[in-house]
Structure formats: structure tokens, C-alpha cells
Amino acid sequence: MSYSFTLNGQTVEATTPGLTPLLTVLRDQHGLQGAKLGCGEGRCGSCTVLVDDQPVAACLFPVANVAGRAVRTVEGLAAPGAPLTPVQDALLDHGGVQCGACIPGVVMTLTALLESEPAVDAATAKEALTGNICRCTGYVKIVEAAVAASGRGDQA
């Protein structure tokens, strides 16, 4: 089957069985390797991408269900060479990146959060990140970065 959707703003076609995980389509057909295959069971969040602006686990998302929708991945945020987004920049500024394998997923979760919430505090950020496992950082600096990126900066 062939499914048409927008990927980082461009219309694309995926010709593949409908139950193929969106993650496989992104990585194997479109060369977008930012989203990671961390667990393949929808639990680690390292494959998080946005479908119609909401975070989803791309490893559990059947490609049939992206037909007609808008998919955004980490590669679609800051163009190569262009400045980082506030979320990306804050993660580096606050030391929220270690091995970084979870980070593309974290970036997408926080991007969606900041787009929907005008002011993010630490509790909101922690709640939003429940589906993104980070084994390195203990989350503290990621949460600080989320708060800072939302422009509040008054809570950590």
C-alpha cells in the first residue's frame, strides 16, 4: 500500500505494508535516523516524533494511520547550519545532554510541550517527559532546560 503524508513540511509517499511502524519508514525509507530504535516496544520514548503536533512513539505507530497527517521529526526543527531551536539550545546550555540517544525524542516531546503550554514549570515538564527514558542524566538538567526554554526561568 501507499500512504501519503507530510514529513517535515514536505509531502511524501510511503509504499509499504500498513502495519509497518512509522519509525521504520522514517529511518529506512527516508534516511531520518534522529528518532532511535531504543526498545521497539513503545516504552523508552527515544523514537518520539510529532504526528499532528502531538508526541507519539513512532515504533508503535502504524504507517497506515499517518495517511493525511503531518509528521515532524527532530531533523525538521532547525535546518542544517541554522540556529538551534530554544529547546535544543537550552538542553546544551543546561548540560542536559550526555550520551544523547534519548535526546531526539526528548527534544520532540519538549517542542510539543512548549508549543501547547505558554509557561512550563518543572512539574509540567516532568509530567510531559514520563514517556522519555533517559538513562544518563537523571532528568534534572533536562527539566531545567525545559523550564528555561519556555522563558520562565524562575523555577528549576
Partner: protein, 287 residues
């Protein structure tokens, strides 16, 4: 883990009638596909996938809802959708269940009907909230639309006829009805509940409970209603009555054993969850 070859066919009809027709034609080889968060893990559970899935994603009418004396909720509403629909206190438990379940990446995708229809999914969070609220499911099938109680649907969930589809859920919301939901996890959140409990009560003008229902999920293979008599005749929120009711409910449970949690523990925490749910109710009334 992902396999590189995913062979099942997926069809994406645009109407309920087309979906029923396709499911009927394909018979046992097919099943409906909603958000996919359960079906996409079939392989991890050691299940053989069906030959075909009928995606409900393009059927707009399955996302409708209406709010009144009965809250009508389309089958394809996601957990996230359910948290944002303004409903009265009869549906508080459902909203809470939807908000506390799993984590955002799943709540944004997993659907109301998927939560009900997923066979083998003992820890579904919406189900006890709906059971306690005396919900009914609207079904479409080869014999046309019909309606049944959620309780009776669940008892026959493994043997539903081919071609059948949940189209909506009806949750009664009469005046004076209040509900609350509690779940317990090993970590603070982001995982299946060890036990989840919903309490729904009907309160008279004097603040006394005149009817009540308690539902428990995750403890047994399928969520069930337990005896709630101990709440009746007591002021809403009464802790002793809640403890008695919780113990009565726990006494009737035969827990499953699985690696998530020992069975004895699932039962042991039920009275506490009942008490905590009941304790929420007076605040809802005050609002």
C-alpha cells in the same frame, strides 16, 4: 522489537458501514485497528498477527462526542481527547483515568474503544471508570447497530462476532452522580497499574449515598464490578464505609500472577485505593 517485514494488510475505510462490511467479509482473519498501541506489540506478546487489519482512523464520525444526561463518546477518541472534554462529575473518574494512564506518547494515540476491546489487557485504565459509571457500548455489526452494557461486553470479549465494531460509549450522567479514579504503580507513573479502582456514587440532597458502584481493574484478567453496598446509606466520603467497601471488594478478587506484581499485593492495595477514591468525592461535590 521491530521486524523488518510486516506483512499484514491494512485497509482504511471511510465509514462505519464500509468498516463493518470489510470486517464481515474478512471474518476471523481481520480485526479493527484503532491507535495501534496494543496491536503493534502483538509480536512481543508472542501472538500471531491477523492477516488483515481494518483501520478506523479515517472514520470521522467515530471521533464525535456529545455531553448531556448521557455522555456519548466516539470510539476513536484518544485518552488525550477524553481529558479535554468538559463533562460533569459523573465522568470525573473517566477523565482521571485517561489523564493518569501510561504517558503522553500513548495517551495521544490510544483510543477509548481500543482500551475496551484489547483482549488480554488486564490493566486498561478506562475500563473500571466506565464500568463503575454503568457505561454501555454502541456496536455496529452485520446485523446493524445495537447496544449492550459494558459489563456484558467484557464477559464475552473473547468471543465477539466477526464484523463487529465498537462505535461509541454511552456514560450516564444523571444529576447527583459523582465518580473518582485511583491507580497504583510501582514507580510514580508511566506504567501499567498494579491495581486501578473507580468509584461512582449517587448522592441524595442530604449528602448521603443512595447507590454506588466500585470497579477494579488490573487485579483479575478482566476488570470487574465489586460489592459497593457498604457505601450506601452513609455520607459521601465516609472513610469507615469506604474501608468496609474496599475490604468487601478485595475479598471477592482472585488475582492474576504475572511479572508486573505479585497477586497478593494487587489485592492488598485495593481497599486503600477504594478509600482514596471515595475520599476524593466530597471535594467534587463542593465544586
Amino acid at each position: 522489537m521491530l521486524t523488518t517485514v510486516v506483512s499484514p494488510d491494512v485497509r482504511s475505510p471511510g465509514s462505519i458501514d464500509d468498516a463493518v462490511r470489510q470486517l464481515t467479509d474478512l471474518g476471523a482473519d481481520a480485526m479493527p485497528l484503532a491507535g495501534g498501541t496494543w496491536i503493534m506489540r502483538a509480536g512481543l506478546r508472542g501472538e500471531t498477527p491477523r492477516r488483515c487489519y481494518v483501520s478506523l482512523d479515517r472514520i470521522a464520525e467515530l471521533r464525535r462526542y456529545s455531553v448531556g444526561d448521557v455522555v456519548e463518546l466516539g470510539a476513536q477518541l484518544t485518552h488525550r481527547d477524553l481529558t479535554s472534554i468538559t463533562t460533569g462529575p459523573a465522568a470525573t473518574a473517566l477523565r482521571q483515568a485517561a489523564a493518569l494512564s501510561a504517558f503522553p506518547q500513548v495517551r495521544n494515540v490510544a483510543t477509548l474503544a481500543g482500551n475496551i476491546a484489547a483482549t488480554g489487557f488486564a490493566a486498561a485504565d478506562l475500563v473500571p471508570a466506565l464500568l463503575a459509571g454503568q457505561a454501555e457500548v454502541e456496536l455496529a455489526g452485520p446485523e446493524g447497530p445495537h447496544r449492550t452494557t459494558l459489563a456484558s461486553y467484557l464477559t464475552s470479549r473473547d468471543q465477539r462476532p466477526s464484523g463487529e465494531l465498537i462505535t461509541a460509549v454511552r456514560l450516564p450522567a444523571p444529576p447527583g452522580r459523582f465518580s473518582a479514579f485511583e491507580r497504583l504503580t510501582v514507580r510514580v507513573g508511566g506504567e501499567y497499574a498494579v491495581a486501578n479502582v473507580a468509584v461512582s456514587v449517587d448522592v441524595d440532597a442530604g449528602g448521603s449515598v443512595h447507590d454506588a458502584r466500585i470497579a477494579v481493574g488490573a487485579v483479575e484478567p478482566v476488570a470487574t464490578l465489586g460489592p459497593a453496598r457498604a457505601l450506601i446509606g452513609h455520607p459521601v466520603g465516609d472513610d469507615d464505609a469506604a474501608q468496609a467497601a474496599g475490604e468487601a471488594v478485595a475479598a471477592g478478587l482472585t488475582p492474576r500472577e504475572d511479572p508486573d506484581a505479585p497477586g497478593w499485593y494487587r489485592v492488598a492495595v485495593v481497599p486503600t485505593l477504594v478509600r482514596r477514591a471515595v475520599a476524593q468525592l466530597p471535594q467534587l461535590i463542593d465544586h
